[in-house]
Every structure is written in C-alpha cells, then in structure tokens.
C-alpha cells in the first residue's frame, strides 16, 4: 500500500501549520485589497487647487458609461459623440475643465477615447474627425495591421489574426465593464505577490527536512525515497494553486466590489488596454483566462521552487534566486527585434502573468496552426513542470546524509 493520501495530508499540514505562511498570505490579501482599487484614492488637483476626488469622478463617469451600455458603436452613436465634442470651445486650453465638456462631452468620453485609440488620433485630429462607422472599423483594422508589422509577425500569423478579426461582428456593442478591466489591469501586482508567496512558502518544503534533521528518518523509510517526494510535490502544488486561486478571487472580488461586475459579455475591443487584441473574446472571458493563466503559472513556479530548493539544499539561496528572477522579470526587456528571445522571455513565468503577455499577438505556429500564448504557454508549463518534477526526484533520492 503506498499511503500516498496519508503522506500528502501530512505534507500539506506541515506547510499550512507554519504561522509565517498565514501571515504572508494575509499580508498579500491586504496588499491586493489596497492595490486593486488604488486608483480611487486621493484627490484630483489642477494647478494646486482641489477639483474633485477620484472616487467621485469615477462615480460620475460610471453613471455615464452605464447609460451608454447596450448601445452599438455605430454611425448614430458616433455622430452623437462628435456633436457633443464639437461644442467644446476650440480655444480652450484644458478642455476637460470647460462647462461644455462637463455637460455635453463627458458622457461620451469613453467612446471618444475608443475612437482615438482605434484610429490613433491625437487630440486635435480627434476633435476634427468626421464620424464614419465604416472608416472607424477600417482604421482599427489598419492600426492593428501596423502593430503586427512592428511586432515582426510572420505571414502565417497575420493570416491567422485576420481570420480571427473576421469572426468579430461589427458594430461592437458598448458595455460598462470597468470591474473586469480593473481586475485585468491589477494582475501585475497580484501576480508578483502570488509568485513571492509561492517562493517564500515552498522553498523550505524540502530543505526543512535537512535543517530539522528529519531526512534520516524519512529516507530510511520504505516510501522515503519515492512516494514521499511526490507527496511533497503534490502538497506544494496544491497549496500554491489554492492560494493563487484565493488571491485571484480576492483581486477580482475587490475589483467587482468597487467597480461592479457588469459587462462580462462586452467585447474585448472596447477595453481600454486590450482593444487591439484580435481574438474574439469578451472582457469577462479575458479576465478568466488571465487569472487562470496566473494560477497555472503559480503551479509551475511552485514545482520549480520545490525542485530548486532540493538541488540547492538551502531555502535562503532558493528564495534569493526566485526573488532575483522576479526582479529581473520586472526590470528587463528584450527588444522586439530579437523576436525569438523576446518571446521566450515574455513567456517565462516571471513575466507571463502580465496581461500584455497573456494576450500578446505572438503565436506559436505548429503544423500550420497558430497557437496563441494563453493556449500554448500554460500547456508548456504543465509539461515542463512534470519534466522538472521527474528530473528533481533524483536529487531527493540520491541525497547523502553526511557531514553531521
């Protein structure tokens, strides 16, 4: 009988019975709670004069956006938008402070910003733009094609994305979906906290046995070189998956609690940060994919941390390597001219959890089919994770108890 269940139970108990693990987890939740709605703190100043609070501004804008929800971004709406913006005096230095903006244009600001992004217009050009539904959608396609060019996409990839673009219907319907946008935008600090939590809590799962001198008892047991290794890996992976899920749920919960959970079915094209992503997804689906990818990344990182700790036999060195890798991921970019290297770097677990990497347009063409990053990278992580775990077993199995 291999007693895997019993050993797994005790390994999980060993991890979660450590008070610092709980303290770290609660701290992470606290920081997530501060960071996700962080944009709403404080006041808005112009020339040192307090104009409004960010929260009140958000409430007003939310009201306007919810009023626009359900409307198609079509010729009728575009004409309304440009008529409203046309009322702003041309001579106004800061147009947002004018009465005309606040009364007529502000309710349409989301659509106006969408037009500016899609057509890549500066303020002056946007103010002078003639509303044309077809031209707007054509401009978006053109902008997107230009981006593909600068990102060194191959012809196969461009063809793939064009097919995806064709699947998206026009005109797109606007929905208020700030809850999902904020959840996705907040994924970078959440991801960093998840990786930090995994690194801190799991790098002593194996090393603890050596520092506590329980390795002699374990390794001399019948299952001490085989089953216990997998029990530890399973325990580490489950704890990190559950904690990543809880942190992801908290982040989304905080975002939806503050910004609302409306707009799950809104097209990604109306998102302020991901409007150029050509895969036919909704904002809600993108949010689930982003956080799902984060959880898979956390699981993969947990395997790396566990195996590294056993190879190095030192939890402090393991933590130092992990923190160094996370910092490197934050600070260094590889220029896109070196596409393969940049793609590999962006798909590494210290960078992948950022939404712009989960939803980047670089694909992996395999036998003529292009796999997008959120499809292929988690699959790679699962396969590599298993490979690393299998390779790491020999480090545990062959550990020699000596020098004491």
């Amino acid at each position: 009988m291999n007693n895997f269940g019993t050993l797994y139970h005790y390994e999980v108990k060993k991890i979660i019975s450590r008070k610092p693990v709980w303290i770290m987890f609660l701290l992470c939740i606290f920081v997530i709670g501060m960071v996700v709605p962080g944009n709403l703190l404080g006041k808005y100043y112009v020339d040192g004069k307090e104009i409004d609070t960010h929260y009140h501004m958000f409430q007003v804008d939310r009201g306007y956006q919810e009023a626009l929800s359900g409307r198609a971004v079509d010729q009728v709406l575009l004409e309304e938008v440009m008529t409203a913006y046309g009322k702003i005096p041309i001579s106004a230095e800061r147009y947002t402070l004018t009465q005309e903006y606040q009364t007529y244009a502000r309710p349409y600001s989301e659509i106006f910003n969408l037009v500016r992004s899609w057509a890549q217009l500066d303020m002056e050009e946007a103010m002078a733009w003639e509303p044309d539904e077809e031209a707007l959608y054509a401009a978006r396609r053109e902008t997107v094609e230009k981006q593909w060019q600068t990102l060194w996409l191959s012809d196969t990839e461009k063809e793939f994305w064009r097919k995806k673009e064709a699947q998206m219907n026009a005109p797109v319907t606007y929905h208020y979906c700030d809850g999902y946008n904020m959840a996705i935008n907040g994924i970078v600090p959440v991801g960093l906290l998840v990786l930090l939590f995994v690194s801190v809590c799991l790098s002593s799962v194996f090393t603890e046995e050596h520092t506590r001198r329980t390795d002699q008892l374990i390794l001399s047991g019948a299952k001490g070189k085989s089953i216990i290794y997998w029990a530890k890996i399973a325990a580490g992976v489950s704890v990190s998956a559950v904690c990543a899920l809880l942190m992801a749920t908290s982040a989304c919960g905080f975002a939806w609690g503050v910004y609302g959970a409306k707009g799950f079915g809104a097209s990604l094209r109306i998102s302020s940060s991901m409007w150029s992503y050509s895969y036919p997804l909704t904002v809600g689906q993108a949010c689930l994919i982003a956080y799902g990818s984060l959880i898979v990344t956390a699981v993969f990182v947990s395997v790396l941390v566990l195996v590294l700790s056993e190879v190095l036999h030192n939890n402090i060195a393991t933590l130092a390597v992990c923190v160094g890798a996370i910092l490197a991921g934050m600070m260094f970019n590889i220029p896109i001219q070196y596409r393969a290297a940049a793609q590999l770097w962006n798909w590494s677990p210290v960078r992948f959890f950022a939404s712009w990497n989960v939803f980047d347009v670089w694909t992996l063409p395999v036998f003529g089919h292009c796999f997008v990053s959120w499809q292929i990278v988690p699959a790679f992580y699962v396969v590599f994770g298993i490979a690393v775990a299998v390779a790491g077993k020999s480090a545990w199995r062959n550990y020699q108890v000596s020098g004491r």
């Binding site: 770290m24 960093l192 930090l196 520092t211």
Partner: protein, 234 residues
C-alpha cells in the same frame, strides 16, 4: 661554543618544578578587555557578505544614477530594505546557530554581543544611507526631505517588521521570512508609484512623514524589546 655552554648550564642547573603556580598567576592583575575593545572586536565577527552587500548596494545606486537617473530614487528606495535585512539577520544569528546559551554565560554576554553588532551595523547603515541620499536627490524634482522619507520609509518598515519576526519566531525560518517580507517591500518600493500613484501625490506627503516617524519609533521599540529578550534564555 656559547650555545654548547648554555645547554650544559641548563642541564646542570635545572630549574625546580613550579609550586603554587596557578595561585600565583591568579593573584596577578591581568588586563581585561575594555568595552570599546570588545565592540571593536565584534567587527571581525560580522559576516563578510553583509559588508559585501552594503558595498554592492552603494555601487548599484551609483550605476543606477548614471544609467537610470530618472528612476534612481525608486531604485535606492527598493534597495534600502536589503540594508535593513543585514541588521535583522545579525540580530537573530545567535538563535539561528544555537549559540545563545553559550553567549549568555560569558562576561560580555549575549546582550552585549547583540548591542555591539547592531550598533556597528546601525552606524554602517547610517553612513551608507547618508551617501545614498545625495544620489537619490540628484536630478529629482522632489526636495531633500521628501526624497529622504521615500528612501527611509521602506528601510524602517523592513527593520520594524524584521525585528518583530525575529523576536517572535526564532530560528532560521524567521530570517527566511524576513527575506520574503523584504522582497515584498522592495517590489512595492519599485513599482508603487506606478501602481498606486495617488500615494505619491504631494498632498499625501504628510502621511508619509508621519508614517516614517511612527516607523522610526516602532523600530526603536523593537530594538529595545529585542535587547530585553537577550537577557535570558528563551
């Protein structure tokens, strides 16, 4: 010839066996170690990597000032928690390596050892921070006071939390978790102004100043509590 004569003389006139040697030696006043000598001797027992890390932090800040001059304040702010970590790791060293019981039973007991080492590192950190401040202020539109607070706050927060953890959860695990907390504070110091820019508004500086002062007080409290905890074996 002379050597041979010496040897012969030694052989013929052998000195008698000493009597009451130990009593006689105990009567002599032997110079003890003064407190400044003791403190100075502790410098050699502070681990080399701590000095190395401090130098590395300083050099990294200089390089940062040259290469990323716009971001150097935040880079320094993210590196000062590492300086704090050196203090925290030294404070828990006796417990980590189970030397506390031996060190408590000596003339310059554990309390003196900890005081001396933390004092030395405190002075060293003060020197490093003083050198880092002009680098952090250079090419920043923020004033000296504001820059100092943004540099000191993560340092004080790390020291406060670290000393609390080391005192409360003893052993290697405590220092290890301090590393985790330090990493978290470093991430926030580096990314904070991008993630939560409202916290760095001019209007919020008062809160920063008050927080820094409170953290300073809390850190001092933790120091005293830590010193108090070294008076007996836990």
């Amino acid at each position: 010839m002379k050597q041979k004569l010496k040897e012969e003389l030694l052989h013929v006139f052998a000195a008698p066996d000493p009597m009451c040697k130990r009593d006689f030696l105990r009567e002599l006043e032997t110079p003890g170690m003064s407190i400044p000598m003791f403190v100075f001797s502790q410098i050699g027992y502070i681990r080399k990597w701590i000095w190395g890390l401090s130098i590395l932090i300083f050099m990294a800040s200089v390089v940062g000032a040259v290469c990323f001059s716009g971001e150097v304040l935040w880079m320094i702010s993210a590196m000062t928690p590492l300086l704090a970590l050196t203090v925290v790791s030294e404070s828990g060293r006796s417990d980590n390596y189970e030397m506390a019981e031996l060190e408590l039973a000596t003339r310059f007991s554990l309390r003196s050892v900890v005081l001396a080492r933390l004092g030395i590192l405190g002075i060293e950190n003060l020197v490093i921070l003083s050198l880092l401040l002009p680098i952090g202020v250079w090419e920043q539109r923020l004033g000296i006071l504001q820059s100092s607070v943004y540099i000191l706050a993560p340092y004080l927060l790390t020291t406060f939390i670290g000393l609390y953890i080391v005192r409360r959860f003893r052993g290697r695990e405590a220092v290890y978790f301090c590393m985790g907390i330090t990493a978290g504070i470093r991430f926030f110091a580096l990314l904070g102004q991008d993630i939560v820019p409202q916290l760095y508004q001019q209007s919020r500086f008062g809160w920063w100043l008050v927080s820094a002062l409170m953290l300073g007080g809390a850190t001092a409290t933790q120091y005293f509590k830590l010193i108090g905890a070294t008076e007996e074996l836990r």
